[in-house]
């Protein structure tokens, strides 16, 4: 007998299971594989539920306690006003997970497909969905897979260097709160290059839940520069999962800017499947009010001679709470691994809190790895130095905060993207300074 000692399900857990069951009772969508994936995910969620503090990876973000209730799945809604441009890009807008009119004039080598259309046509790329996920149970990912059906597939043909940046704008719209489960698959074939922007936005007054999963596959020699701007509405819950698998001699740089949502969690799974590759996972979180933002990384060096760089900067005002967890895993075959991880927090208030947990798990003997974490206030001597040159206190503080976060931004290779990120930082600081 299977002794299941899980406590009674919360209202949110029960609603999610009911919603999953309703979805799964409908006529099957797509291949047997997809349906099996959904059924397995439903079963895993029914067994494990939402994570609590007792689950190590969620120790600082008690999702089970935080998620009081769950609204119904968000349906079709009017397309909200388009967000202002980030950088000049080819934009794909998803409202409540559903792609709106896809751009037609695509550069050679780039294919965009709505996930629903791909499922209807049993597209071969679907085989890649959920084919290289984490070994352990991940509630956010399981829920997303259980509801699998909406989203987008982006494919870059071998050797294609896509000149424009591609922006995927994921928006919530609705008169009532709702849930979104969006799945994005990005496949960049051998030798191809892509600049990708993901944006998440929604109205401040709606307590919606946005569960977004993006899976990226980089073929040998591919390059992806990826910027993710999470600017969800103030009352939203954002559960993001990003799983990237890198081939041989690839270059992948991710920058995550976290500004929004009442509660957010981003889990990044980065896996080196081919040697001599580079992965940069960096970001800045600017948090005020009572926001809670959790960034958790798993960087898996499975093969030799790869390099990873993780750098996160967290600025915390008021009663905000930041969480950084990062684990670099170096497997026995991953000799000559070079991994560096750093998380730094700047606390602007006595009531703000930062939880840093960087970890290394090393099973190879010829590696260079390091990690570190700091948390502190603005330096008084530096502040006085700037003020003694005529900068008013607020302005001096802004300059120092900007410089602090800027140390992560400067790694963004694309100048336009760098400027766009800096502009967001400045806007946040200006808003805070009043």
């Amino acid at each position: 007998m299977n002794a299941n000692l899980r406590p009674v399900r919360t209202a949110a857990e029960q609603s999610l299971i009911d919603m999953l069951d309703a979805r799964l009772a409908a006529p099957p969508l797509g291949s047997a594989r997809l349906n099996d994936l959904r059924q397995e995910a439903r079963a895993a969620f029914a067994d494990n539920g939402l994570p609590t503090r007792r689950v190590e990876d969620w120790h600082y973000t008690d999702l089970r306690a935080a998620l009081r209730g769950v609204s119904p799945l968000a349906g079709d809604a009017a397309e909200p006003a388009a967000p202002s441009a980030f950088v000049e890009a080819l934009r794909v807008t998803l409202v409540n997970g559903r792609p709106q009119t896809l751009p037609s004039d695509l550069p050679p080598g780039l294919t965009l497909l709505s996930l629903a259309d791909a499922i209807a046509a049993d597209h071969p790329l679907l085989e890649l969905i959920a084919s290289d996920g984490p070994a352990q149970y991940d509630a956010a990912l399981a829920l997303n897979t259980g509801f699998l059906g909406e989203g987008i597939i982006l494919h870059v043909a071998a050797g294609a260097q896509i000149p424009q940046a591609v922006e995927i704008a994921q928006l919530f719209s609705g008169a009532e709160p709702g849930c979104i489960f969006t799945r994005i698959l990005v496949v960049v074939e051998d030798g191809a290059a892509l600049r990708l922007i993901e944006r998440f936005e929604g109205p401040a007054e709606r307590a919606y839940l946005d569960n977004a999963v993006i899976e990226l596959r980089l073929g040998d020699g591919a390059r992806v520069d990826h910027v993710r701007v999470q600017a969800e509405g103030e009352a939203a819950t954002h559960l993001g999962t990003l799983a990237t698998t890198l081939g041989r001699e690839t270059h992948y740089d991710l920058f995550v800017l976290t500004l929004g949502a009442a509660l957010s969690r981003l889990t990044v799974y980065g896996r080196f499947a081919g040697h001599d590759s580079h992965m940069g996972v960096r970001g800045a979180s600017l948090l005020a009010g009572a926001r809670h933002a959790d960034v958790t990384l798993f960087v898996d060096h499975a093969v030799a001679r790869c390099e990873s760089r993780e750098l996160f900067k967290t600025v915390l005002a008021d009663r905000a709470r930041g969480v950084f967890q990062g684990k670099i895993i170096v497997r026995p075959d991953a000799q000559k691994t070079d991994g560096r991880m750093m998380s730094q927090a700047l606390l602007l208030s006595d009531d703000a809190e930062m939880d840093n947990k960087p970890e290394l798990e090393i099973f190879a003997d010829d590696v260079q790895c390091g990690h570190g974490a700091t948390a502190g206030a603005l330096d008084d001597t530096t502040l006085f130095y700037l003020m003694s040159r005529g900068l008013p206190e607020k302005e001096a503080e802004m300059l120092l905060i900007q410089a602090f976060a800027g140390e992560a931004v400067e790694f963004v290779a694309d100048a336009e993207m760098r400027e766009a990120i800096t502009a967001r930082l400045t806007a946040w600081l200006a808003l805070r300074a009043g």
């Binding site: 003020m387 206190e393 410089a403």
Partner: protein, 249 residues
């Protein structure tokens, strides 16, 4: 220009300045010499408004205004400049950005218009080479990776751009070799003007060979114990501070 009367100041419970009187008229260079630990640097911080230094008695009037009522940034805009003994590194803030932000912040505080980009660039292009500050140093983070001498020269560049009325130099020669000292002194001497005064704080007489003062004060145990002309500096070089250090307390 500057009038200090019966100044008492402390950090925490420790009184450091104990009844200081000092008047510096416009156009003059005053040197303050004294043993280590006599409170010379404290005076520079009290004048520039560093938090944590509490004035318990006395007054400081600068150009007719109560200096002590102003915050550090307001004092800068009013014309006080402190060249730090140990200039601070500010990673992530480009030197150029810093110089321009400081200049414009002062102008805004004074109700003046901000400087235009071309005017600012012209100004920097004119002043920086005189102090041996390269384009590369202007692009780098403020003082980041600068040698001791480069940091001091960068202080003088800031002074030259901000055009203060009263320049306070705290141990401007510490850590400098003779060539670097000459560059710094030339920079300072180039700024001497009828409407500008200098307060040069130093332990050694050497600096005063290059920045020749009008008046020399001996500072010991929190106040001025003797005042004279530039020859006083030479006398101190021979006799040392022993005569002033303990009996003055």
């Amino acid at each position: 220009m500057l009038e200090i009367k019966n100044l008492h100041a402390r950090i925490g419970d420790k009184e450091i300045i104990k009844g200081l009187d000092l008047t510096i008229p416009a156009g003059e260079v005053h040197a303050i010499m004294g043993p280590n630990g006599s409170g010379k640097s404290t005076l520079s911080y009290v004048l520039s408004g560093k938090p944590g230094y509490e004035v318990t008695q006395g007054s400081v009037t600068f150009l007719g205004e109560d200096l002590l009522a102003l915050s550090a940034d307001q004092r800068a805009a009013a014309g006080i400049f402190l060249a730090f003994q140990y200039p601070v590194e500010v990673p992530g803030v480009a030197n150029m950005t810093f110089l321009r932000s400081a200049l414009n912040a002062q102008r805004r505080t004074r109700g003046e218009e901000e400087i235009s980009t071309p005017d600012f660039l012209r100004l920097v292009k004119e002043k920086a080479p005189l102090l041996g500050i390269s384009q590369e140093m202007l692009r780098r983070g403020v003082n980041v990776g600068f040698s001791g001498g480069e940091k001091k020269r960068n202080e003088i560049l800031q002074m030259a751009l901000l055009e203060p009325k009263l320049c306070v130099l705290d141990e401007a020669d510490s850590g400098l070799d003779i060539d670097a000292l000459k560059v710094v002194a030339d920079g300072v001497n180039g700024l001497r003007a009828a409407d500008r005064a200098f307060l040069v704080i130093t332990h050694y007489q050497r600096l005063l060979d290059y920045i020749v003062p009008d008046v020399v004060h001996v500072f010991a145990a929190g106040r001025i114990v003797r005042t004279g002309g530039k020859e006083l500096a030479l006398e101190l070089e021979e006799t040392g501070y022993a005569a002033y250090s303990q009996d003055a307390a």
